[in-house]
Every structure is written in C-alpha cells, then in structure tokens.
Symmetry: none
C-alpha cells in the first residue's frame, strides 16, 4: 500500500519532458564488501587501484543502500528490482519466469514457467545426482528436443528451451493455469522427486499442478534410457507477474546491456530493451556509446564482482573492479547526465555469498553536489550525503538529478 501511494506522489511530480541527457545505472554485481581480519581489514574497493573512479568520486555524492530491509539478503531478482525502482517486498518474480525471459523466451500473461535441471534417479526413483553429472550442452539439446516433442498436455502447450550444461526451462502456455507451485526438486539427494501439488486452493493452480503431473508422466519414459540424465527437477515454478513496465512507470526509454540470462530476463520483465550480448566490459561500454541516441536510461550489468565474491576470491574481485575502472573512460566519452555506480547487494569475499550489508553507491551529475570524499569505497560512502537508504529510491534520486521532477506543493 505504502509503495502504491508513494508511486502516485512521484508520478504526480514527473515533468512531461524527456531528460536532456542520459541516466546510466552501472551495476557491479555484489560489489559491496566488509573489512575483516581475513582481508587485512580492507575491502576490494579499497584495495583496487582505481584512478578513474577516484576522480569521479571527488565530484560525486555517496551513500549506502539497503536492498530490501535491514538484515535481509536478497537474491539477484529482488536486488535488481529495487535498483529499478520497484519495492522488492511487493513486486516479486519467480526464478522460472526470470530464467525463461533471460533465455529470450517471449512470455505471455497466463504462462507458467519453470527452471529445470536434468538429474539422475536410481531404480527406486531416488535422486542420486541433482545435476546429472553436469551433462554437456549437446546432450542437453537432444533431450530437450525429446521433451519439446510432447507438444501439449490437454489444452496447455509445452515449450522447452535448453540452457547450459544440465539446465533448461519449461514454459506451460494456456489452459487457464497459474503459479506459483512448489518445487519438484527435493533440494538434496537421497529423496524422491516431489509430486507437484498446488498449495493454494485456486482452480488455476490445481490445473497447473495437473498439467505438470501429466508432463512428468509423458516425459519420464522418454528419458528412461538416458542415464545419467534419466529424470528432471523443476524449481521456481511461477506465472509472469503483473509488474508495471519501467517505461510506463518512469517515462524513460530504457536499454539493458547485460550478458547473463538472469539479468537480461529481469530487464525484459519490466520491458527494458535488451541490447545484443557483449563479451567484455569495454564492449558493454561501447554499446552504450553506440546506442546513446536511442534511449534515456541504460542499465549496464557487470557480473564478475559477484562471481569473485561468491568464490571468496579477493584478488579476483579487485581485478574486476580495476577492469571496470580501466574501461570507464570509454563510457565517459559521452558523459551521462546522471551516472549511478553501485551493486544490487553486497557479496563479501569473507562470506562467499550474497549478504545484507548495505552496498555503497556513487551518484554523479552536474547537480549532485560533491561530498568531498576521495574514493568510491564503503567507508567513504558511510560519510556521504545520501546516508543509508532503500535502493528502491535510487531511481528517484537519479531522476531528480536529471531535472525530471517538479516541486511538490506550493
């Protein structure tokens, strides 16, 4: 409720014009970190040599952002929805939907999507390997074609899209079905595949459960000879949620420059246009230059910081930060009117996982004001003028810095 009322207020203040420059959100996934004894009380941002970020920092405003609520560790979905200006406690998307979108599938309202893994079951139907020995992508392709040939279950169309290694996605289309449904994945070996049973009493959820049970009955015999990939597990089964589009919500034409399927999926979920996949950070920044004229807002996603954090690889995280710094002059060839650099959450090296620690944020524009801080680091950000705030407000600050909000009240 609060979110809706706030949205109404912000919307009433939105000036009708398009911004006179570009708004750029540069996400270094999981960049925030913590200073512990294990790292000599330094964070990767502190340890990295970042002359370009340092220069930017000196004329920027800084702060820290709570991704959801204090103490809550977000997945990448809520982390990014917050950055895009959606309260992640209100707007939610199941993993199946995000993965399907990320693989370029064009979901429709009424679809139910599931993330799937090929797995191994023994003669008693017990899961012995949840990833089927990480089969290669070629075998995956063959198996997905078999499953895709099932075509439909009753009135529901079945669409199977292969991913990498043992991963794929199933979309169930039509027939009055809806998610969410619990996973068939038991989440550890030694247990049988869970039957899909609707937790809600909605007829549409019961129908979806029946369709998926029917799909299992047809699919399992097809895989019986395909050891180690003789079965599959479904997770994150859900419907395309009704999330208002980014362009409608903020009146900004938006492009996403992201490499990994999940982030491309999140961007598509809210109607951002995904630009073609680029391989490296400099190419991502070059894409921004190339598409400069065509959008108001660019979301640029760098994954490496999060991966290094999850691996507990301090030097690796430093290296990704330095690579971003090194490439930054490319981005700045066409200076954004408003540039925000931050993470979607922290991924501390010491924890090897996402965390709840507020991520640092740097906001640069001609009117941001300088906080007179020398570097973009956690401890500098602690002293910034933005304080600690929920990340769902970042877009509002970016828009204010772009002169897109009129005065509230007389």
């Amino acid at each position: 409720m609060k979110t809706v009322e706030e949205e109404t207020l912000y919307r009433s203040l939105r000036l009708p014009h398009r911004p006179e420059g570009k708004l750029v959100l540069l996400v270094l996934d999981g960049v925030g970190d913590i200073a512990t004894a294990a790292t000599g009380y330094r964070t990767p941002l502190e340890a990295a040599v970042t002359p370009n970020l340092d220069e930017l920092a000196q004329t920027s405003a800084m702060g820290r952002m709570t991704p959801v609520l204090p103490g809550i560790t977000p997945g990448s979905g809520p982390g990014h929805l917050g950055l895009f200006g959606y309260d992640p406690a209100v707007f939610r998307a199941d993993r199946g939907v995000i993965e399907a979108l990320g693989l370029g599938m064009d979901l429709k309202l009424g679809d139910v999507a599931a993330r799937a893994n090929f797995c191994t079951v023994n003669a008693e139907g017990i899961v012995t390997d949840r990833r089927a020995g990480r089969i290669d992508s070629r075998l995956n392709r063959v198996l997905c074609e078999k499953l895709g040939a099932i075509g439909r279950i009753g009135e529901t169309r079945i669409i199977v899209r292969r991913g990498r290694s043992h991963r794929f996605v199933v979309v169930f289309r039509g027939g009055g079905i809806a998610g969410p449904l619990p996973d068939s994945d038991p989440h550890r070996t030694g247990l049988p595949i869970r039957p899909i049973i609707a937790e809600s009493r909605e007829e549409s959820a019961k129908r979806a459960a029946e369709v998926i049970a029917g799909f299992y009955r047809r699919a399992m015999p097809l895989l019986s000879e395909d050891l180690p990939a003789n079965a599959f597990l479904l997770r994150g089964i859900g419907s395309l949620p009704r999330i208002p589009g980014f362009e409608e919500r903020f009146q900004l034409g938006a492009a996403a420059i992201a490499v990994y399927p999940m982030y491309r999926g999140l961007a598509q979920l809210i109607g951002m246009r995904n630009l073609e996949r680029a391989r490296e950070i400099p190419q991502q920044f070059q894409q921004y230059l190339d598409e400069f004229q065509h959008f108001d807002y660019f979301f640029i996603h760098v994954k490496g910081t999060d991966m290094a954090g999850e691996d507990g690889d301090f030097d690796g995280k430093v290296a990704v930060i330095e690579a971003v710094d090194h490439a930054l002059p490319i981005l700045l060839q066409k200076r954004p009117l408003v540039l925000a650099i931050t993470g979607d959450h922290s991924t501390p090296v010491a924890l090897k996982s996402h965390s709840w620690h507020p991520q640092p944020v740097l906001l640069n524009s001609p009117v941001c004001g300088s906080d007179k801080l020398s570097r973009f680091t956690e401890t500098c950000a602690n002293r910034g003028s933005l304080g600690v705030f929920q990340s769902q407000y970042l877009i509002r600050l970016m828009m204010a810095n772009a002169g897109l909000y009129g005065k509230f009240g007389p």
Copy 2:
C-alpha cells in the same frame, strides 16, 4: 499493517536452526547524549576512559537508532519494545501491566493492572501530597495487607502487591473487565482524586470502571486513620496486551538480566525468562557466563546511565560507562557470536530527561565488517555503515549477523 507484512517476510526467511552462538543485547539505559557548551562539547561516552569498548569498536559496525520516529521521545517501555523487535507505535503496554509483571506477578489475559501510589488528601478530599511523604516500605506493607483483605468486588478478585516506599500495584482479575482506563491520579496537588470513568463504550471497560469505583468505596474508609497515607492514586490502568512472545516471534530462547522491576516486567511481557536479580554490573555479566548454555539471546540491562542523565550528573554518567567498560572482559570471557551495545533512547545530561536524539549502537560479530572507527561514541557512530535506522530493526541485523536468515528471492 506495514509491520505485519514485514514480519511475514522476515518470518518466511528465518532458517529453522538455532544460532551457533549467543546473541547479546547490552543496554546502557539512556546512554546517548549530546555535546553542548555546558559539557565542553563532550558527551559522557567521549569523556569516559573505555579501553575495552575502544578495542571492540575497532572491529565493529556502528550507527544510530531512532527509537520510534524522528522527534519522538520514548518512555522505557517503547524504547525497549523497539530494541526487542516490536514496532513501539503498534505494540503498546500500559505502565500498570509492566509494573505488575516487574514485581513478579503472574498476569493473565483478562486481568486489569494499575500502578498505585499512597497519597495524602485533606478533609475536602483534595490531594495535598501525591506520594504521602514517601512513607517507608514497612508501613506500605501494612497498608497493602489491609487493601488486599478486601479480596473481591463482585466477581472480580483484587490482588495488591506492595512496591517500594509509597508505591504498590493492584491487579483486578476476572469478571469480564478490560482496560485501558484513565488515571485517578490528577497529576498535581490541589485537585481531587479523579473518578474512574471508562472512555470507551466497551461493556468490559465500563465494568472495570465500576469495579475500581467499588474498590475505592471499600478501600478509602480502611485508610482514613493512616495519615499521611490516607488515600491512593491509580495510574497506567490497563489490560495485559496481546503481544506475540519473543521466542515464538524470533525462535530464540531469551533471558533477561535486569535489576529494576520495569525492565524485568517488559522482559516478562514478551516471555523472556528473568534471571535472578544481581546487584552490580560484574555480577550481571557473570550471570550471562553462568547461564550461557541455556539461552540463545541475552538482554542485559544497566540502569545507571539513565539515572545519571536524569539527574544531570555528567560525571556520574561517565562513571557508569567506565564501570561497564571495566567489567566488559567478564562478558567477553565467553564471546557472544553477536553483541549489540546501545541504549533504549538518549538521556542527555543537559536535558535531565529522556530525549528523541538517536542513540549510538555498536554491533560486533565475525561478519559485521569493521567500520574502522576508533571509539564507541556518538560522532564515531555517525560515520558507521549502519546509518540511522529504527531500533526495531536491530534484532533483524543481529539475527542476520548470526546467520539466521536465508536469501530472499531468486
């Protein structure tokens, strides 16, 4: 409503296991202060010599907490309910209930409890001394026995429990009664005792008002010869509120190590186990060591900082802080997994009262991250990574630091 939704979210993320170490909340009541000309622009935390707190600070995260909302000065009840993770604007308890619990009375739902003072009235029934010259506790005992002998009014049982000096508590049990009711205390001399009249139209409140009127009619003649304690005033008349228990809410077994009745009452209100009264701070810390195995969460309450603040006694407040610092190595003999040190509010020496100024908080755990601040003071806390947040979220941060929350969303 917002609190309930947030509670649902946090609850859905609570992992089922118990923490692998202890969570300790050390409350220096009213410790926060302000730097003014009168104190040479130092606060008691700044003036105190605190080598142990200093050492802890250097590997801690810090911030400041708003007890309720900006500008709101809390009593001890809301101050502590916030620290325990209850939105103090939603969950409330009348003073009578808290005092009754603090005196060790075992309240039941349906009870109405009132805080009471013996007082002096003149021949015209005008209150001339609201504390009956602070009669001694022995006389108090005799008078309470007289009043207790009344036994019941209609279907309602009367239970009288003496406190110190002129103070006592009356519990009205049964007969379909409910609070809250306005005070009979006129809150200044020169006025008559106020008749108790229900403000709500609830039958249960009307019945409670009748019962209390009946109690006054029976009790006043019994005291007529007992000058200066020839009457009594009731305050904070209320029912035991329906507050979800701390253990149920957070799945943490909790003990309270508090000396004063009010804090023991607050702890009991939410189902914390009160350990036996200890006299001095070192003994309180020793109790934590002794009971280490039996609980997940310890609330340790130190009153002296608030009392010194209320007295405007700068040196006294410094001395209590130094006493805590001196005793701290006892507590740290069994290092808590998560240790939070803070106040329930500020009690600035310059104001001689509770205040709205956010209190500093220090949070220490293996995964808190160091904010690289040298001391636990207000100005250091201003530069910490926790920012300024509502104290109701402290328990969430403590639980996150203890690894008790799973990831939110895909």
